[in-house]
């Protein structure tokens, strides 16, 4: 126990969270669990949006975000067990973008698992992505945890196959926000059946962590912060004592608790999105639990982007957000309240101003 505590402390320091936690006694951000041998960590990088301009030119800012996240992930001590990439490696799904993005990801010194994003998918419906990275949905087990990866960004067959004269236009239509021609994301019947079968053999006491690109909860439809059949996926996860969903796509800190299921969003390496209610003044269902991230300084191109490492202690996720030009944040499952909470800013009185008027 002593050993693992000091390792954990080093890990927090090593991952750059020192500034965030140094004001607190370290014990308050450590979760004490009975069986610490089950604890492990993995890193999560997402939403790189590598964008081709022409020839060998790519948008520099997006390249730099992914390059930096990869380089920093390689410095983690102790080493994470694996890395997840949360989708939207490309901007418009082209071979040039996927190849360039893969070349950057290939510098990771760890086993990497991939999630499909809509920007990877809607040009060729994931064909080239599959050549590079394998199946669109799958599951694996690691140190007593069952991990599931879904392709949550598919939509109605009619929209996908019949509505658009070219694949390029289909890609562009799905890339737009508040696009009346858009269509809601979903997991779909086929994958839901696969998931039900996949989970059949898993004991209800086994921690389950599900990775998707879109939130498996409904927040704001106009930007597809949304999965149309979210409730049906949730119903498959509810029987498990410890279930967690980790999703990309939203480029911002979000977290929630619905029944037994904890939800965590991850940062983008490319750019931050504002919160829907502040940008479009539209009603959104941002979970009340979420303390928004603070406003980005537009000069610092990396501000409000980042990546995270995940501390999986006894099957529950503690999300360490590594944020640039900003204060790192940690959102961890609180066993007392039974929900994920920000370890520094959860109480209304301890928030910093831009978090309340983002």
């Amino acid at each position: 126990m002593t050993n693992s505590r000091s390792n954990r402390r080093d890990f927090i320091k090593g991952a750059g969270a020192l500034a965030a936690v140094s004001a607190l006694p370290l014990s308050t951000v450590e979760l004490a669990f009975a069986d610490s041998t089950k604890n492990f960590t993995f890193a999560y990088i997402s939403d790189a949006h590598i964008q081709h301009i022409k020839g060998s030119e790519f948008v520099r800012n997006w390249d730099r975000g992914l390059i930096r996240a990869v380089a920093e992930t390689n410095l983690l001590q102790p080493k994470p067990d694996f890395v997840m990439f949360g989708g939207d490696l490309a901007q418009l799904g082209t071979k040039a973008e996927l190849d360039h993005g893969k070349a950057m990801l290939d510098r990771l010194q760890y086993k990497t698992h991939m999630v499909m994003g809509e920007h990877d998918y809607y040009l060729d419906l994931g064909a080239y992505w599959s050549e590079l990275f394998g199946p669109h949905y799958y599951s694996f087990d690691h140190k007593g945890v069952h991990f599931v990866v879904l392709n949550s960004i598919i939509t109605y067959d009619e929209w996908t196959h019949e509505r658009w004269p070219t694949p390029e236009q289909r890609m562009l239509e799905m890339a737009g926000l508040d696009n009346p021609n858009g269509s809601p994301f979903m997991v779909g019947e086929k994958q839901r059946q696969w998931l039900a079968k996949d989970l059949e053999g898993v004991a209800k006491t086994t921690p389950v962590v599900l990775f998707s690109h879109s939130p498996i909860q409904k927040i704001y439809k106009g930007w597809n912060f949304w999965t149309e059949d979210a409730e049906e996926i949730q119903a498959l996860l509810q029987p498990f004592a410890d279930a967690t969903v980790v999703y990309g796509h939203v480029h911002q800190i979000q977290y929630n608790q619905i029944g037994n299921i904890s939800f965590h969003a991850v940062m983008a390496t490319a750019w931050p999105w504002p919160y829907p209610q502040s940008y479009v003044q539209a009603e959104s269902l941002l979970p009340k639990l979420t303390v928004p991230m603070n406003r980005a300084d537009p000069f610092f191109e990396r501000d409000a982007t980042g990546w995270q490492f995940i501390d999986l202690a006894s099957g529950r996720v503690a999300m360490e957000y590594n944020l640039y030009n900003n204060t790192n944040r940690r959102v961890a499952f609180n066993p007392t309240t039974g929900q994920p909470e920000d370890t520094a800013y959860q109480a209304v009185g301890s928030r910093i101003a831009p978090q309340t008027h983002y």
Binding site: G16, R60, R68, L75, Q77, T305, N322, N325, N328
Partner: protein, 387 residues
Amino acid sequence: MRISVVTGLALAGLIGVVGVVAFAASEPSVPPLGLPPVPIPEDNPQTPEKIALGEKLFKDKRFSSTGEVSCATCHDPEKGLTDSPLKVSEGITKGDRKATGTRNAPTVANAVYFTHQFWDGRSPSLEDQALHPPVNPVEMGLPSHQPILDVVRTDPDYVKAFTKVFGKSGEQVTMAEVTKAIAAFERTQVFANSAFDRYFYGGESAALTDQQKRGLVLFRNQGRCVACHRIEQTQALFTDNRFHNIGVGINRIQDDVPELAGEFMKSKATLAEVDIKVLGDARTSELGRFAITKGFNDLGSFKTPTLRNVAVTAPYMHDGSVATLRDAVVHYNNGGVTNEGDPVNDFLSGGIRPLKLTDDQIEDLVAFMEALTSPEFASQAAPAGAK
């Protein structure tokens, strides 16, 4: 007037030309045009006697192992309070040569406005900062602070001064009193009132040349300089008091970062040990503020220096690797590499990107920076065209 007495005591011997800098124990200071009031800590109020004592300590070479190095050696009032044109500071003589550090001596001028001292911000105050160079092996080389205390507790002039300033003598005099006096002196080293200040804050439209005016526009727009080298409505510190990786130093050790950073993350080094390590090892030095915080955001990052009087403090950057102001602008214009086309480091701060400045625009920016020299240092500036 009390103010003029204080000013004379503090500065006349040092610089010769003394402007508006003035301090008194309980009176608000009057900063020169373009700077805010000097922050004075409650536990170290300014007094004329303390400032004079601090200046004496600042210039005392007995506080080095060889008796040849004082604070003023690397922070020379005749060189913009730096050791220009040295790239990195030179300390005590070891064998047949002087020990050198890894970092370019930053100016003491306006250092009082920094919220962190040293290039990597490892010191929180002027008082704390003054503790370290005397015992660093490549600077003043003392084995401990004891030799300093031996001098100030026995030298009759110091005994008298410490008694008068702090009401303390003998064993009661500690490094706390020594560093408070040095810091009090450094808080008088405040210089602004440059051509830029007279133009921008003083309403003298002719204070800048047309080229310098174009440079100011670039500084605040296409050049993106102002984002870190801040100019505000009523004052300009020309720093944001933050730390950035701009691609200097770290670019040379890119392949070594995993090894060097890994060592640091494992080590439990105290800040005093870090002080010795970063000034003694050129590769480790380039980790920048990361060596202090161990945060990835700080890899290869260093404090934004003020640009006031920058024309008299060449060379530039934390390692003195950039010879001229023009070269500094070119580095930024290249998006964080000194030689165009060199590889950008993985940890480059957001905001550092190619600027697409023309040669004429680069010259305009240099001309603008030459307008940031305070009158006290005007005679130290290289003649126009020498760069």
